[in-house]
């Protein structure tokens, strides 16, 4: 009876009592990775000292650490690790929301072309030397245009299958990539071109607290709204007519979900360029752990995504003498992982 292409994941893998523990566990895990990441680097700061330095920011503590440790933690590693955590959470929650809303476990911000669209918008803003606020606005509008186009294509060809939506994303993503090349050609080789190139490779090395104070609140807003809507996403994933007959204002809810998921994608593109795989793989892993219920899956996805990204960033800055681009690592880890998921569910997908 399962529909072709349906994931058909079984309902509840976790006993009721286990979920709060799992959620607390994943939050604690994220916090642990957070402190480990800040403590690790060429200049090692012990874990306890990291916690003390962080606490001192909000609570007056006697300074028992060197000034250089304080600078390494607060000025360099804190913004970078915070950015990694926020971006991982943002991409995972945005992917999980798209997957529910489109009733399609095979989509993510990068597959739908949203990331590519957002990067076109952001690059266009960089091209004209715009302020950060305008880069964010450009990324958001570019992402919104891309996702609208991707949603339109299945309607035009009157085919609602999982494959068509993925193909639509490939079309839109391909288009955006070409526009991106045009922007590169137009960029001034001495100034903006370098900026655009550096930024598209996806790195957190240049993240500053100032940038985070603008984009952080946007990401937190998107995360909170999607988390609040997590039960609505369950209802929405039944299909438009079903959701409508259950009293949901489908077009309004869908608009809010798309806007928030796109805001999250655009914000992370703004900070670190296009980062693939996270938005696809993390929701799948979360479903394997807590089941498909978005009430549980979304919060766990957020913490796992944040942790995953912090680990990736830690690897990016410690594996080699130079910073490895983030998207290189997410690809190397994410792609084989997704293959394993496909292998595990081979009977159920397509």
């Amino acid at each position: 009876m399962t529909k072709p292409g349906a994931e058909g994941t079984t309902a509840c893998k976790v006993k009721k009592a286990a979920y709060p523990a799992l959620l607390a566990g994943s939050a604690a895990f994220a916090f642990l990775i957070f402190t480990i990441s800040i403590s690790t680097g060429i200049f090692r700061v012990p874990l306890v000292t990291v916690v003390k330095i962080l606490l001192a920011e909000v609570y007056p503590l006697e300074q028992t650490w060197s000034n250089s440790a304080g600078i390494a933690v607060i000025a360099i590693r804190l913004p970078r690790t915070l950015a990694a955590m926020l971006i991982g959470a943002a991409l995972s929650l945005s992917g999980a929301s798209y997957q529910s809303m489109f009733k399609n476990p095979m989509v993510s911000p990068d597959i739908l072309g949203v990331s590519a669209g957002a990067s076109v918008g952001a690059a266009a803003a960089i091209l004209v030397n715009a302020e950060l606020v305008w880069i964010e606005t450009g990324a958001f509008l570019g992402g919104l245009a891309a996702v609208s186009l991707t949603m339109l294509i299945p309607k035009l060809v009157r085919n609602n299958s999982i494959v068509i939506l993925v193909l639509a994303g490939i079309i839109v993503g391909g288009l955006a990539t070409s526009v991106m090349s045009v922007i590169r050609m137009l960029a001034d080789p001495t100034t903006t071109l370098a900026d655009i190139t550096y930024w598209t490779m996806g790195s957190l090395a240049r993240v500053k607290m100032k940038e985070l104070t603008v984009i952080g609140p946007l990401i937190v807003t998107g995360l909170v709204v999607l988390l609040l809507l997590r039960y609505r996403l369950n209802v929405l994933s039944l299909g438009d007519n079903e959701a409508r007959s259950l009293g949901v204002n489908v077009s309004r809810t869908r608009f809010i979900v798309v806007a928030c998921a796109t805001l999250l994608t655009a914000s992370s593109v703004c900070v670190a360029g296009v980062i693939g795989w996270v938005g696809l793989v993390i929701p799948h892993i979360s479903r394997m752990i807590v089941g498909i219920d978005n009430k549980k899956m979304l919060p766990v996805s957020m913490f796992l995504g944040g942790s995953f990204m912090m680990v990736i960033d830690l690897l990016a800055r410690t594996l080699a003498a130079v910073d490895i681009p983030i998207s290189v690592l997410t690809g190397i880890i994410g792609a084989p992982f997704f293959f394993l998921i496909l292998l595990k569910q081979k009977r159920r997908i397509l």
Binding site: E7, T10, L246
Partner: protein, 261 residues
Amino acid sequence: MSSLIRAEEISYRYNRGPEVFRGISFDLDEGEIFTILGANGAGKSTLLNCLAGIFKPKSGRVFLNAREMGELTHREIAKLIAFVPQIHNPTYGYSVREYVVMGTTPYIGAFASPRREDYRTADQAIERMNVAHLADKAYTDLSGGERQQVTIARALAQRPRLIMLDEPTAHLDYGNQLKMIKLIKTLCEEGFAVVLTTHVPDHPVILDGRVGILTRSGGLITGGAETLLTDESLTALYGIEIRMKYLDECSRRICYALFDG
């Protein structure tokens, strides 16, 4: 007193296609059954969707409790009408309990999740439909008949006054079909108004309510089961010779076809 639901001269068409039906009027009150018969593709499901407020009629008006449907929110409509679709293949296999609790959505705020009392409502509906043994199973792992029962449980959890069922017997074996019809009759006796579509003329006879025949020209002929379901009307509807005959053993009329190949 105005009726629970009243349709006035409604018509519908898909995009630029021809009219599916036109000029359809009828009304229904609590405790009443309305059965819609019609050939394949006649537009029974479309009509049901229009009456349930899921599709918007292209002309004409539908009133719920004397208020025009277009002025009501989806939430307000969902508190009055529960819809049991014909076949539903969700992508994600929520547990039956999680699926049934979605019936309480019209009573839950947009940013909230079901509370304990909503799960209690769901559990009662699951008990009522005798599917407690399925509560932890994934909806996608159920058989057609089980899905139907679970979806009706969801409709009950919605606490509506009108239940609409689109071909509730379509995926059921013969025994389950008749159990379904019996259940519908009980629901009606409990005070729900019921609108359903079916392909079996015996069903409206057993249900003994009002009947609407959706004709090939897109009109709806309404009347009581006794007067409307005749040899002539059913023969015209299905395009084969059909007879209605009273059978003493079951104390009702039965429908059969004169079929000689």
